[in-house]
Symmetry: C3
Subunit: 473 residues, 3 copies
Amino acid sequence: MPEEMKPESVLLHDLDSAAETDMLCIFGTGDLGRSLGLRLLQSGYRVVYGSRRPHSCGPLPPGAQVMNHVAAARSSSLIFICVHREHYGFLETLAPHLEEKVLVDLSNNLKKDVYPEANATYLQRLVPKATVVKGFNTLSAWALQNGLLAGKQVFLCGNSAEAKRAAADVATKLGLTVLDKGSLSAAREIEDFPLRLFPEWRLPLCVAVGLTAFFFFYLLIRDVIYAYVEQEKDISYRIMISLANKVFPIVSLIMLSLCYLPGVIAAFLQLYRGTKYKRFPDWLDRWMLCRKQMGLVALGFAFLHAIYTFVIPIRYSVRHKLISRVVDEMKENKTTPFYFDNTEAWGTDSFYVLGITGFFLYVLLALTSLPSVGGSLSWREFTFIQSKLGHLTLFICTAHGYVYGWNKFLKLSTYKWYTPPGYMLCLIVPSVVLVLKLLLLLPCVDRTLTRIRQGWERNQSKETVGDNKATNL
Amino acid sequence: MPEEMKPESVLLHDLDSAAETDMLCIFGTGDLGRSLGLRLLQSGYRVVYGSRRPHSCGPLPPGAQVMNHVAAARSSSLIFICVHREHYGFLETLAPHLEEKVLVDLSNNLKKDVYPEANATYLQRLVPKATVVKGFNTLSAWALQNGLLAGKQVFLCGNSAEAKRAAADVATKLGLTVLDKGSLSAAREIEDFPLRLFPEWRLPLCVAVGLTAFFFFYLLIRDVIYAYVEQEKDISYRIMISLANKVFPIVSLIMLSLCYLPGVIAAFLQLYRGTKYKRFPDWLDRWMLCRKQMGLVALGFAFLHAIYTFVIPIRYSVRHKLISRVVDEMKENKTTPFYFDNTEAWGTDSFYVLGITGFFLYVLLALTSLPSVGGSLSWREFTFIQSKLGHLTLFICTAHGYVYGWNKFLKLSTYKWYTPPGYMLCLIVPSVVLVLKLLLLLPCVDRTLTRIRQGWERNQSKETVGDNKATNL
Amino acid sequence: MPEEMKPESVLLHDLDSAAETDMLCIFGTGDLGRSLGLRLLQSGYRVVYGSRRPHSCGPLPPGAQVMNHVAAARSSSLIFICVHREHYGFLETLAPHLEEKVLVDLSNNLKKDVYPEANATYLQRLVPKATVVKGFNTLSAWALQNGLLAGKQVFLCGNSAEAKRAAADVATKLGLTVLDKGSLSAAREIEDFPLRLFPEWRLPLCVAVGLTAFFFFYLLIRDVIYAYVEQEKDISYRIMISLANKVFPIVSLIMLSLCYLPGVIAAFLQLYRGTKYKRFPDWLDRWMLCRKQMGLVALGFAFLHAIYTFVIPIRYSVRHKLISRVVDEMKENKTTPFYFDNTEAWGTDSFYVLGITGFFLYVLLALTSLPSVGGSLSWREFTFIQSKLGHLTLFICTAHGYVYGWNKFLKLSTYKWYTPPGYMLCLIVPSVVLVLKLLLLLPCVDRTLTRIRQGWERNQSKETVGDNKATNL
């Protein structure tokens, strides 16, 4: 009989002993402190709050204890500090009771660079004999309260590996994934994280704004002002749609090609250096890291271009032009203009088809860059989509541009005031990227590049490092 | 030599001892029972099935044992009950063998409110000396079988914290995230979960249907019936597209403003009460919880509006009107109508540009509400998108509405049968929301509100609670 | 005092003892080996690298040790093999030192079927006394380095359950989810996984290409070649857009109906067999597994159809036709053609409205098939969307097709060269699916089917299996 009782007693005993050790302490009974406590209790920890006024600190999650700071600190080796940095003072007076404790600093600031040192560094200075770990600060009280933690990532940093591991164990139990950012000197970076505002979008958006402004004024001069000066016609109404609908595709195409330019440059750099083990220059690294955002901004412009194109036929000016053209024709009793130009029909239709196909591929590329879609692709599939399909998209969109101007390149009237039209300017970068990419696809170049990317080095000492690298995954 | 063997032996021994304790029992060999057993085996547990006929219960996952219920129950302290509630009877007769066991009830019902008490409560009544935990019931056999558990959430509830922890440990090993719903009284809620059908979409859809119906009949009377009665023209063909294309943008704009109205009301309520620590009235809470769905329904209508607009020029009636207008003009030999109205061109083009921009921002808002995209944003980024960009979208779409009627507000002919046209009605709510939001942005109001949201209270007792709250995160 | 020190000492001691056992060994210092080591160190393991030249193997993650292979192997019971298969030779000579070790083989090949046996099987043959586990090979060095592991799935296979569990424990600590693929014979499948290129998209894409090609040539003959032969008109310019815009909706509708056909066939098969416990034929299984992809390809074609339709009015040939029609009318001084046909207006508008609604529902279906959206739906919600809404979409799109030809079915001129037009052909499959689905919805059929799907069997032996199954979940 005692033999048979054993299995279950083992498991239950296991629970009991766990309950003994897993006492966690939280300093601070604000929104974050309370939500964190609730979640810890739900994950099976016991929780004790440290408070200045244990008897009047408002509603706490059921099951949690409240004590004064000293008693609370004594009951656990891990203390979560959910207090504003401005009020850390009391921790200094508590310092003797915090010796050898792990203090997890969850604080955030409202703005960057308000204080000369990170909150966690400041805390470590106040309580030098405790071990401070910075982390968990990217969680919001709201997400904690609603249990939306599955798969979320938290950062940790600290000088003690053991202290970090204790904090990481708690995070893992909460269903979080931990990313170790190294020593406590990374605290500033971690504290700045919740304050960041689309840092990786900044460069692409700047490029987009710059290109848009340049081409807007360039086309404004060539189209509207030229017409006003030379032909004394006021066509300013065209600014809203016609002009915008020229600027958008131009910016979109250039930005799409800027997605693929750094990859091509990197490949040539690797070919020139004969190794992949040298770091790229900083500007290239930064450029490569924002390619996805660059492409999504390009898609935004392409999307606007598509919608602007769809509304063309319902515009007042377009309808007016259509009607007045018919009426004019009738009045002058011409019969010739109604000759149907087969080449023109083929040309414009090809132009539209290339545009539609390009837009379709654009959307496909954007869909696979959604985190949940991209995450379900194998590495080979992702590469296939982003590289092969990406370059195809660039090729088709560039062709879309060439077909637009196919019969205008050699006409003199195209070059108003000796300036080339916008679509010619915008074809330069994509054409360069495509030609360079084509060079890279030549069998001999491609073979060398593949070998370099598999770890081969041109100038390696015959025996040591290179050999090692070619062996290992 | 024995010194060197140590490290590896520690790890392997660890495995052995784990294998001893981690025996789990499953009652029921149906689809769910079998899939669960397969998954548990893959996660390293040993599995024993309890069955009435251990020798004829069909194919089970390889590695699992089958016994009669009594023997199976004896071998593990944790038993998964994968049996329909209708057949719980046999558990009552087993009760003596289930004492002190943890019974995890996975059952679901086919409909809501069939039984007076939750399945788990019923089970607890049948076997009072066991500890019942309700949970895992949101998993489908299909997801279990295909290992699609990563990051999924399961609910647990039960009266014993230890029993819940034992069940939660198993869930964590399976790669699931656990959300504790409290005591066994929450079992009903957990059992209803798999039966819910878009509960958070109900209110937005009701509002949408109500608004659509109202504006449809309102415009039907003003447009079609008015024309029939007063001018004896049959323009019923307009119902399909022209009328719908008036109703859609109206409903879309109103629903978008209804997304932002509760936030504004909440802010004024907080200002009036001088604290954020009082609960909002229930209706406001419910309203705020379905803002996302409200916005997505609004986008749906905006999407329909966009497509309806794009097909305008290919409609038979529109082409007919265009042609007959030209022909009429020619016959009467007028020359004046072909005067190009620059203001009209600017007006309609601005109207289209505002609409396109608004739609573009709409889509952007919707994209960030995708779980995988929103989850990758920091709190500040999410707030920026949903609040700043959201109000901008509302502003632009409202402007789109104003520009539509810019020259019609003062014309008497606009007010057929003394009723205002639909677009005027739909501008009321958005205008109110925008004006209120503007008031909130005034520096003095904004400052007070920010302080309140950081925990400050106007009528606080100087010393205790408020001070505490301002200190803590 | 010693009483009070206890809680914290327990936790810290726990860390120390863990640190003693959790030593892991990595053979290979390439990109993958280094990234894996970095991640393991971050998760709290101690890492030792085995290298042929411990003193010149390049930069390793800080905190890791490097030794020669023998010493490294001795220090851990679990060894990650991050070496190309081509260089496994040295492991054979190491075999005596690898006895009873768990070797986790992470290697991938560059192409399928290069070697007669899987890398892991080859490794097991070289080192027969070690226990080989295949796995982790779907991780890229890039994902490891950037900590993008949350919620990712890795496959494991191996002949020893204990060895697999040791590897699985490491994976769990890294935040990965483990899917056990069984014995080492599954290694080939796991090694082929990173090389797969959209296997589940192959069948849908083949069907799409086949249908597109067939209908393209069919319509080319009926439209362009017929006009050239019979009427001696060159309307080849229509190929680019008009013809494509007929092919796309046809293929889209057929593929949408092919999404729902296998479900209907399966239901009839279950009705015929009277049980759900017999496996479907292989072709049906394969078909059902690619329904989602089938539907997404159908949406792609519908999307193209929509955009092709939107650009119609800005095409040169359409404008030309419009203008020349007006001019022709005027010249011949007709007055009758401008009669407004109310039926025609209703017909075309209904046609457009059905198309728009169908497209809208299409997009809705596609959105819920996004992993992150679908994952947040309950089983009942997912079924509601994919089945109810899916069949509604099919019904509306089919109606769209019928309305297109509503007044042409009985005209003889429709059947050029005695062939039916494309849209008639494309209505066959959807109509069949809808009729069959309607049959399944008949109360008597539906009741039987529901019972079968709940486990009831028509020809069951009264007492044993069936009863069992009806009892269990």
